[in-house]
Symmetry: C2
Subunit: 532 residues, 2 copies
């Protein structure tokens, strides 16, 4: 867009109130709106006269369309758009709904709970306008996960597709238990799982999987399936007998321990293996630990490689772990809750080298890929095993499936189940595999630029060599925990922190679709006390 | 509304297109719109002149408000409203967004999957208008869970509050793992759990709980917590040792078996107890089975009373089971996934007599009470036990909680977790406890009327004495499975079926907020082949 294009257009408000605004715009050739979002408003534009070009941006993709008289474009909530008049003159009618107060939508990094009395449940009713006002107050005091400055979790930003998907699911309320309750939804779950299995490189006919409520549940399911495969008789009689052992790195997610507790294996079943200076599982120690286990007459059941650790973003060497697993007959699971999306990147998928040899994988689409909370997949290279591990009798009142439309609920621990695959499917469908890979590549490029800038700041110390989209940074002579709270209190950002032997450090997560170097600079300059 | 009020009002369409419609209405005193819904459209009305009364109905509550110049009312999506002019003349502007084609919104009881090619994921992108059209096609071929004629699941209908809650959660994307990520949300989860515990009758300070992904997961958690309480040492070393046993009725949900498999106890751990002629657990048989277990040197760990079985809606006698549990030191769990809402009814809560003696309860708000899929609670009478059972080390990068704002994620198997309590909280807040109880009472009255009508139909056979909101009906000399498929194919209804020793029968579930006797009559008349 050149300066010449930035001509004015005339804007007349026809109706304006809190819940909607109707505006008419008169345009001349080349006049262009700025690229703008509408906070959480829907924006619909009807062309009354002339020809226009509309451009929608989401951080994952750019979409342009040409519009003539009678056509309407709707900007999906949470996307930005820009509209330009191509004809000598033009006229358009714009409807905005709803107009959330921009201050309310902003939220606060130091979120606060509303007064507990306000949140209390009572005997009598509350009117819808009162509820709306209550929701506004909750929003205004909540942490803005939609902001690029939100880096506390392994996700950031709200995608238009996730909003569309969640509304759609709420309106349809189809349970994922049976195929007949939502035939397209069931196919969609299968399609995502099939395509993810293909991306991993598993052979057609072997790849299987199920959505689970979060990455923790996927890790849980991995141990359960490994147990089923090795000791099918435990399904009826329980795991009474020799103790089973599960090997993870010291940097692995705590969910493996939770899983072993619930699975009746006990937290002692988890053997934590040391890591190298890059936070990757130390393979010789793994092999020694497995041998030690065997000597003690325990069963080395499963090795979990972490693909993207929560703190450092490290990738355990899947290929080397696969060698070890083959040697000792262990199940290889890859926890790709955070790092799994590198599957889409031609450039970076070497981080997952050997993944096709894994028996199973955890994949969270609600983290880097912007799906709804939660969109988690347990993927498995053994067709039918999930069914063997989880199907029991007694569901005849519900399951009436056929071979052509199997009931996926039989493979799950859940009965009524939300279609967690849907928001990821819509994201993937909208952007396409290539754009998801490009997205990973762009974030990795941003990391390179960020590292370069951080290394040039004398007051900043970068910890470790970044593997993925985690940056571990310390401001020299400052306590990172105090810094984190200051950043929240000043409403600048919400980053997380962790500690190593030298003390605490900040963890920045590069996940937001619109994140740029300037955001990183703003956060770390504030942390350094540099005025910008 | 009398006939006199039914005066006309003048309606002028100002702008109309697929995505929005702006209409101006001119009114005279007493003129009234019909009570109408807007399918899935939002409807906003701005008063330009005059005074109006607006009435909103949801099936749970009725809300009226008075409006004067400059005020706006918004009818929540999925609610109905009626508007009446109180002044000599009036003028209003109405904005409808979006206008979903009513045919599309209707869906089909014999749902169909779209052609798999259309659902396939691809390399390139799909535009937003194409996605919208794809969603429309999915909706048009999906099962309409919003219809009163949808009785296939133990839920029916879409509440405005659930739609509001799901959009709000998608926009905020706050994880339930930690308090700092969503302080109000964390308080809301605690508030719902605290109030449910109080309704059960558990003492203040003892009641605890957590949201879980579905009723199956709550039953799972019950066995896990019972095991933790009795054998805390299993947490580290696993349940190696004497076999544990779990007692349920033959009519109980299959999830207990799934749970025992996953928990490492094996499906043999589930001992199924016979039922009386009313489908309630036969207490003398339970006691004999427990004694037999003890004789075999097995551990009778838990007895699960079902409050509302899936097929017959039977309530096991919680008070008698509590006696047995006390005698043998067993944990008493009540699976109230379906029948739990009678807690709100003064009239019917005797069905749950003895519930206050239970150690834990499963409560699903997404079934009868119209919350989103899923809104499930595991409720527990032992404060701190969930934490003891599930907290492990290794989450220091995430959990930074304080005593005043504890991180509820430590009590869960999930890490990133959707705020499943939210939609139920909004429903409860909107309607109030009294209205939820009234709702249960109204559905029970409808059951009485339905039973009376069915008994008067010579071709219909009512099976069993209804306990709750399940009606088991057989059309004499017709195969119920065939009938069910006919009702779906003719797009009349979707009911479920089951079988007893005499063959198959239809199961009707009375859960929809707007359900009336006429709906039941229409379904069963069609099934009987009676023209209406």
């Amino acid at each position: 867009m050149t300066e010449n294009d930035q001509k004015n257009y005339e804007r007349t408000v026809l109706f304006a109130c809190k819940q909607f605004e109707v505006v008419r715009c008169r345009w001349t050739e080349g006049s262009t709106s700025p690229l703008h979002g509408h906070a959480w408003s829907q924006c619909h534009v009807l062309i009354e006269e002339g020809t226009f070009e509309n451009r929608i941006e989401t951080g994952f993709k750019v979409e342009t369309s040409r519009l003539s008289v009678g056509q309407v474009i709707s900007t999906p909530v949470a996307a930005r758009h820009e509209i330009k008049c191509l004809s000598p003159t033009g006229s358009s009618v714009h409807v905005y709904v709803p107009k959330i107060d921009p201050v309310t939508a902003q939220g606060q990094f130091l979120g606060q709970a509303l007064n507990s009395e306000v949140l209390q449940l009572q005997e009598g009713s509350t009117t819808f306008p009162e509820l709306e006002s209550l929701l506004s107050r909750i929003r205004a005091t909540s942490v803005p996960a939609h902001s690029p400055f939100f880096m506390n979790q392994l996700f950031s930003g709200i995608t238009p597709e996730a909003l569309m998907a969640d509304s759609f699911l709420a309106e349809t309320k189809a349970t994922a238990a049976t195929s007949e309750a939502g035939p397209s939804f069931a196919q969609i779950e299968s399609e995502v799982i099939e395509k993810l299995g293909a991306l991993i490189g598993w052979e057609s006919g072997s790849r299987d999987g199920i959505t689970v409520p979060g990455g923790s549940a996927a890790n849980f399911m991995a141990i359960h399936c490994a147990r089923q495969k090795r000791f099918p008789e435990f399904k009826t009689r329980g795991n009474y007998g020799r103790p089973l052992r599960v090997f993870v790195s010291k940097a692995a997610h705590y969910s493996f321990k939770k899983a072993c507790v619930a699975l009746g294996l006990g937290s002692e079943a988890v053997v934590e293996i040391g890591v190298d200076e890059q936070d990757r599982m130390w393979v010789p120690e793994l092999e020694r630990a497995i041998q030690e286990t065997i000597r003690r007459d325990e069963i080395p059941l499963l090795v979990a490689a972490t693909a993207g650790t929560t703190v450092a973003g490290a990738f355990d060497p899947s290929d080397l772990l696969a060698d070890v697993c083959e040697r000792y007959g262990c199940w290889l699971h890859v926890d790709g809750a955070w790092g799994g999306p590198v599957l889409f990147s031609q450039k970076h998928r070497a981080l997952l080298k050997g993944i096709e040899r894994a028996d199973s994988m955890t994949f969270d689409a609600h983290k880097l890929l912007g799906a709804s909370l939660t969109s988690s997949f347990f993927l498995c290279r053994h067709m039918g095993l999930l069914y063997d591990a989880n199907d029991v009798s007694g569901g005849e009142y519900l399951f009436h499936d056929s071979k052509s439309a199997p009931d996926r609920g039989k493979m799950s621990w859940q009965c009524g189940r939300k279609h967690d695959a849907f928001s990821f499917w819509l994201n993937w469908k909208s952007n396409g595999s290539r754009a998801l890979g490009d997205f990973v590549d762009r974030k990795m490029e941003l990391r390179e630029k960020s590292v370069e800038w951080i290394l040039a700041q004398p007051n900043l110390e970068l910890l470790g060599e970044p593997h993925f989209l985690n940056l571990m940074v310390r401001v020299r002579s400052r306590d990172s925990l105090v810094l984190r709270e200051e950043l929240r209190k000043d409403n600048i950002a919400m980053v997380n922190y962790s500690k190593d032997k030298n003390g605490t450090f900040l963890r920045l997560i590069l996940a937001h679709p619109d994140l740029e170097l300037t955001h990183i600079q703003k956060i770390l300059n504030a942390a350094q006390g540099v005025e910008t």
